[in-house]
């Protein structure tokens, strides 16, 4: 029987009531008396030297409060980068200055050159058109390999080249890996592109800066996944405002997908300008601005090689990747193609030797950073594609080849520096084969043939590292932040609880799922528990939500704080019941003395904590509020097996997905309905990457896919009815909930199965097609079929 409350119950998402009835409070809903509006004049040139910015005519325009240019921010810090990668020679990455407003040069289309603050947005926009900007255009740096080969045309004149870093991992394995390749019975090589994506959350970015002249307090309302991180980065590194004078609020946020992790110029600008103008300053991104100012995702160009012995065992893996950083380093950009990518190259397989080389490159494009999955989709895609290609070259069943090379014993230390604590890849593959009815595929293929369609089957596995991350480990790897999470649990006098968490919910359903955990721990109704998040003023310092970390790390902090609450409540109960607290049991919201009929209700104890008349005041403080910080001892390793069946129209190249089955091992599951929804969303984004989405630049650095007219988002009729299962559960061994995280899995696991399926369909028709780069648009598939 499914549970109807607590852990394992599909409790309805309580936050959806306000979201679906127009009662949400998003940043754009926040309007402060007297606020002015800012319009950013953005570069329409990808690369050029700014000769002059003349604002004199614009300043005289109606409603203009103040106009800012790069010169106004010379005394201010640049946008900080939160991760320093060390290259294969032991040298730190090249780290260019990232100004709030362009100064000296423009480096990508969309970079803000000037900011006009005016009474209304239309006035600001009118005035921006009157600014006279003179830019001497330079050749744009767009192609990554050309950018590395040619240091004469540099994105940043003060750097030695366009190379941010050349990373080798694990450098000590390189010689042995090369040796294994020279001894291999078979080597499969694949060159591929992991296409650049735009995250496109439904809610665009918004920032409202406010400054209280009377107290000197700054407030920033912003669309962020991690308000505490923004407060620290912006306060300490950009504007020089100490945390106690800066409050950052991220209220309801309408989707993030990674792109709202980062600290953006517009946030710093609105905070700065509110004080400089003496008025609150608001910015709401247009969708057009989002395309050219939200950090993009992916954009890797990779060559991967897999070595096998005569028995088809994987003996070595070698990759070379060019990773686009864009024009500047976004907050966590350097970590994505390195520590979030190289460490996952073992996948689900016991390949003994792995060497990963990544060259991160500056180009005159929008900065690239984490997008749902962040490095792990790029690792999974190339690995699962090259395995599929190897199976076809060797004439063996792709599933059998995978099974033969599965990691089967845990814990398993990979050659790429991580240790999988638990998993069962055989079980997920068994489940997949049954659920997806793979034995019935040939019959379905014949049915497709009968209507003139080519049917293909693609299968792949994935593993990801999430629940990020052990702070001491990431510190060694170059992170300039810790990656713990926090929770304060406040019990009110009448027994209700408030959980104040550093995790941030922007679609994940924390307000529903977190109370399910505490409800089980105490034995009270979920409705007695409320989650507060998103405001640095009323939550403890926390690192926010990304990397499928909230329940695994934030939830663990909440469990630890609740354990402290229960321990203290037992002492109070023991005092009142005149028993040792060691003898007090808490079950179904009632404290009782073991072996007796003496008991107290949860509410009696919480009331006593705040009305301490009969209370051990000499031993115990009044009140019932506890805080815990939880720093994980390892990553968590969700894993799964996916199957996709496609039909290809041989006349047009159009691919339709006929069936998609996702079997995931997320460890323990708190709310199966929410987990299923997370997988659905991830699959839609993964299928979007595989078939539709393509952020493209021309050779002049102009964004070709700058609106929904050219950037194809997946729509309801582009995706099938999914089969999703998460009944294969190997609980995480090192966090108190045994949970692993589910937010990114769908986006990580699905692109390779789609491409594998299309290649299978075309090969079944005798086409000599071994790979097509994503997105597999009709035009690309048709072109591939022409040979």
């Amino acid at each position: 029987m499914p549970k109807d409350s607590g852990i394992g119950a599909s409790s309805k998402r309580r936050e959806d009531v306000r979201f679906l009835t127009g009662a949400g409070n998003y940043t754009d809903d926040i309007n402060i008396h007297g606020q002015a509006h800012v319009f950013f004049l953005r570069s329409d040139i990808a690369h050029g030297t700014i000769s002059s910015v003349d604002t004199s005519a614009a300043e005289a325009m109606p409603g203009v409060v103040k106009i800012f240019t790069g010169a106004d921010f010379e005394a201010v810090g640049g946008m900080p980068c939160g991760w320093q990668v060390t290259d294969k020679h032991g040298q730190p990455m090249q780290e260019p200055k990232h100004p709030v407003l362009a100064h000296g040069k423009v480096r990508h289309v969309g970079e803000p050159i000037a900011a006009v603050v005016a009474d209304t947005l239309e006035q600001a926009r009118d005035a921006a058109e009157a600014i006279d900007v003179d830019i001497a255009e330079l050749p744009a740096v767009v192609d990554m390999k050309a950018a590395v080969a040619n240091s004469d045309n540099k994105v940043h004149d003060d750097l030695t080249s366009n190379l941010c870093y050349d990373w080798g991992f694990v450098e000590e394995n390189k010689a042995a890996t090369d040796e294994a390749f020279s001894n291999a019975a078979h080597v499969t090589t694949l060159e591929l592109v992991n296409n650049r994506l735009v995250a496109n959350p439904m809610e665009p970015r918004v920032a409202v800066g406010d400054y209280a002249r009377g107290t000197g307090d700054h407030t920033l309302y912003t669309t962020s996944q991690n308000p505490h991180v923004i407060r620290l980065l912006m306060g300490a590194f950009v504007l020089g405002i100490p945390e106690h004078k800066l409050r950052v609020v991220a209220p309801d946020v309408g989707g993030g997908f990674g792109t709202k992790i980062f600290h953006y110029q517009e946030e710093a600008f609105c905070t700065f300008a509110a004080k400089a103008c003496g008025r609150p300053v608001k910015w709401t991104s247009s969708r057009s601005e989002a395309f050219m100012s939200d950090a993009h995702g992916r954009d890797h160009v990779t060559k991967i090689e897999l070595a096998l012995d005569g028995d088809n065992n994987f003996t070595a893996l070698r990759t070379e990747t060019f990773a686009n950083m864009g024009a500047y380093l976004s907050t966590f950009a350097p970590s994505v193609p390195t520590w979030l990518h190289g460490t996952l190259m073992a996948g689900n397989y016991k390949t003994p030797l792995i060497y990963v080389n990544v060259k991160a490159v500056f180009t005159n494009t929008v900065p690239v950073d984490a997008y749902r999955g962040a490095g792990r989709p790029e690792a999974t895609f190339q690995l699962e594609r090259v395995i599929d290609k190897a199976a076809r070259e060797l004439g063996v069943d792709p599933i059998a080849l995978r099974r033969q090379n599965f990691v089967t014993e845990f814990p398993y230390a990979t050659p790429v520096a991580v240790e999988y604590d638990t998993g069962d890849y055989v079980a997920t593959m068994d489940k997949l084969e049954a659920m997806a009815d793979l034995s019935g595929f040939e019959a379905r293929r014949k049915a497709s043939e009968a209507k003139g369609k080519l049917r293909g089957l693609g299968v792949n596995c994935y593993i990801e590292a999430c629940g990020i991350a052990p702070s001491n480990l990431v510190g060694q790897l170059g992170a300039r932040a810790g990656l713990y999470e926090s929770a304060t649990v406040r019990v009110n006098a009448t027994g209700g609880l408030v959980v104040m968490t550093g995790s941030h919910s922007h679609g994940q359903g924390h307000e529903t799922a977190f109370p399910q955990v505490i409800a089980d721990m105490i034995g009270i109704d979920e409705s007695m528990i409320e989650v507060v998040h998103g405001d640095t003023a009323n939550t403890p310092m926390g690192m926010g939500t990304y990397g499928s970390r909230s329940l695994a790390v934030g939830g663990s902090a909440m469990v630890r704080a609740t354990e402290k609450i229960i321990a203290k409540a037992k002492k109070i109960a023991g005092h009142i019941l005149e028993a040792s607290d060691a003898d007090i049991e808490l079950k179904d919201g009632t404290f009782s003395v073991a072996g007796t009929d003496k008991s107290l209700a949860w509410g009696d104890v919480t009331l006593a904590a705040y009305v301490p008349h009969n209370y051990p005041l000499e031993d115990l403080e009044p009140g019932l509020e506890e805080t815990a910080f939880y720093d994980p001892s390892n990553f968590t390793y969700p894993a799964g097996a996916y199957a996709c069946e496609v039909e290809v129209d041989p006349d047009t190249g159009k691919v339709t997905i006929e069936a998609f089955t996702a079997v995931d091992d997320f460890g323990n599951v708190v709310n199966p309905m929410i987990v299923t929804g997370q997988v659905h969303g991830g699959l839609a984004q993964g299928i979007g990457q595989a078939l539709l989405e393509n952020c493209a630049y021309d050779e002049n650095g102009q964004l070709l896919s700058a609106s929904y007219m050219d950037y194809a988002m997946p729509r309801a009729d582009d995706v099938p009815f999914y089969q999703v299962d998460h009944s294969c559960q190997t609980p995480c061994t090192h966090n108190p909930l045994g949970v692993k995280g589910c937010g990114e899995a769908g986006a990580i696991g699905s692109p390779p199965s789609v491409v594998n399926a299309v290649v299978d369909a075309l090969q079944s028709a005798g086409k000599n097609v071994t790979h097509i780069d994503m997105p597999l648009s009709p035009a690309r598939v048709w072109a591939a079929m022409q040979g």
């Binding site: 929904y708 050219d710 648009s777 009709p778 048709w782």
Partner: protein, 263 residues
């Protein structure tokens, strides 16, 4: 968006008068114009909204058996009210954009804009329709003059479009994945004495008639009659979503499918 005046005339005469104002711009459903204004890519001084002109609304049969559609009639209305009169046209209208677009966008607005990827130009040219304005009648063969270019004079308003009704017809649209406009759309109409084939989405010159296919189908109206025929990709649109060669190929495929589906 820049400031502008709005006129809401109630008659064609008043609309024509309003269009005489300097920098006046006719506004149909605004499905292209409003986004253009929001992007500040156009700055008319006055918008003349045509949706309040009742004589430009609706679908009816004329005495000579043609279907007449008011210039300010929405796609959704055409899809509904032309369904029995001209099913091929109604089906085309019913698949333009999405429900929001179909309930705002108008046939006159679409034909006046003549987007190279729009659906209606294929229906008008493929049917041999007559574009009726406040001052004259223009045959479809003379009306479409290239991408976003038509025979309309400044200030001229499309008040009605008259469609001869073919024996059978069909429109096949292969959508561009992002915009879902036609990457290639082919309208095939079989009349008693000839066949017309109009292609949208493909050419740098906008909608065009594929005369070789028309000739072949006029003597044998079957998909097989198209065997061996192809159009050149040389002057076809080439972009992120497909090369000219691909579009040329799709013209053949969509024409075959339209003939096979025509009823």
């Amino acid at each position: 968006m820049y400031n502008f005046d709005v006129e809401r005339p109630g008659s064609v005469a008043d609309a024509a008068a309003a269009m005489g104002r300097e920098d006046a711009q006719a506004l149909g459903g605004g499905q292209t114009l409003i986004p253009t204004l929001k992007q500040r890519l156009a700055s008319p001084s006055v918008l003349v909204s045509l949706t309040g002109v009742s004589e430009m609304q609706g679908v009816c049969s004329t005495d000579d058996g043609r279907v007449a559609i008011g210039g300010a009639t929405t796609h959704a209305t055409v899809a509904r009210e032309a369904a029995s009169l001209y099913p091929g046209l109604a089906a085309l209208a019913g698949h333009i954009g999405d429900p929001a677009v179909r309930n705002r966008g108008t046939i006159g607005g679409s034909l006046a804009n003549n987007d190279p990827s729009a659906c209606y130009p294929a229906a008008a040219l493929g049917s041999g329709a007559t574009i009726i304005t406040n001052s004259r009648e223009i045959a479809a063969d003379d009306y479409f003059q290239g991408m976003f270019t038509t025979a309309l004079e400044e200030g001229e308003i499309i008040t009605e479009v008259r469609f001869p009704v073919p024996e059978v017809s069909n429109y096949q649209k292969f959508v561009q994945p992002a915009s879902r406009f036609a990457l290639v759309g082919v309208f095939v109409a079989k009349f008693a004495d000839d066949v017309r084939v109009a292609v949208t989405g493909a050419s740098n010159e906008g909608v065009f008639r594929w005369s070789e296919a028309e000739a072949a189908l006029s003597s044998d109206f079957s998909a097989g009659a198209l065997g061996g025929l192809s159009v050149s990709g040389d002057n076809m649109i080439s972009d992120l979503h497909g090369t000219g060669e691909y579009r040329a190929h799709l013209v053949g495929v969509m024409t075959e499918r339209a003939v096979a589906a025509a009823s």
